[in-house]
Subunit: 117 residues, 2 copies
DNA sequence: CGGAATCCGCAATGATACTG
DNA sequence: CAGTATCATTGCGGATTCCG
C-alpha cells in the first residue's frame, strides 16, 4: 500500500493500522511500558525486523512513545502516548463488533443470493 | 497476511479491514445501493479484479450484501448489511481520531527521545 | 540489547483475455 | 455488465549479518 489514492482520513488511518501487527502491538502496550524484547515475547512469531519497522511506524504516527536509555546493554522502552491510549477503546469497539457479528459470516464463498428481475 | 498468529478478535477484524480498499468500499456503500460499475467509478484506481476480490471478502464477512439479478446485461447490486452499517460509526470514529491527532505526527523518523540513565 | 542494511521467496496485485 | 482465469510483476515480510 505505497501511497494514498484518496485524501480521506479513513484511508490515512488504515495506512497506519493495516496489517497484522499494529493493532496487536497497541494491544500489548496497554499493559504499560514494554521493552523491545518484551514485545518480541508477546508476539512470538513477529520477526526482529518487522517489530522495528512497525514500531517506528507507530512512533511516527504519534501512537507510541519511544524512550532510549544510554549505556550497555542498550535499553529502549515503548509506551502508548496519550493519543495512542485514546485509540485503544476504538480498537476494542471493533473487536467487540467482530464478536457480536460472529453468526453472520460465511465459510467463504457459500450460497449466492439470486433474484429474478 | 495468510493466517492468524493469535486468536484474539483484534487480529481477526483487521484481517478483514486491512488494506486500502475495505474501508473505502464501506465508506462509499454508505450512500446506498451500488452496482459493480458504480464502485469502480467511486474508486478510479482499483482494478477490476481487486474490486471483485475485496467485495467477496466483505460479503463473506457479513458486512456487505450481494444481490444478483438475472437477465442481460448482468446486474449485481451491493449494499451494507445491518451488521455492516453498525461498523460505519466505528470507522468514522477512527477517522475522527486521526484528524484530532493531526499535530502529533512526525514527518517520519524525526527527533529521537534520548535519556541518560 | 536494539536497530540498520541486505538479500530473497512468496503472496498480493495488476493487465489481459475470455465467459454467461 | 459482472465475474473468472491466466500470466507477469510488485513488494511485503523473513532470515541473516553487522553496528553502537
Amino acid at each position: 500500500m505505497k501511497d494514498l489514492v484518496s485524501r480521506c482520513p479513513i484511508e490515512e488511518v488504515m495506512q497506519v493500522l493495516s496489517g497484522r501487527w499494529p493493532t496487536l502491538l497497541i494491544y500489548y502496550l496497554q499493559d504499560g511500558t514494554k521493552r523491545f524484547g518484551d514485545l518480541r515475547r508477546d508476539n512470538p512469531t513477529i520477526s526482529h525486523k518487522m517489530l522495528t519497522v512497525e514500531l517506528r511506524k507507530l512512533v511516527d504516527a504519534g501512537i507510541v512513545q519511544r524512550t532510549e536509555f544510554e549505556g550497555y546493554p542498550l535499553r529502549v522502552e515503548y509506551d502508548l502516548t496519550p493519543e495512542g491510549r485514546k485509540l485503544v477503546p476504538l480498537i476494542d469497539a471493533l473487536a467487540d463488533w467482530w464478536d457480536a457479528t460472529d453468526g453472520v459470516r460465511r465459510p467463504a464463498g457459500a450460497a449466492v443470493d439470486r433474484v429474478s428481475t
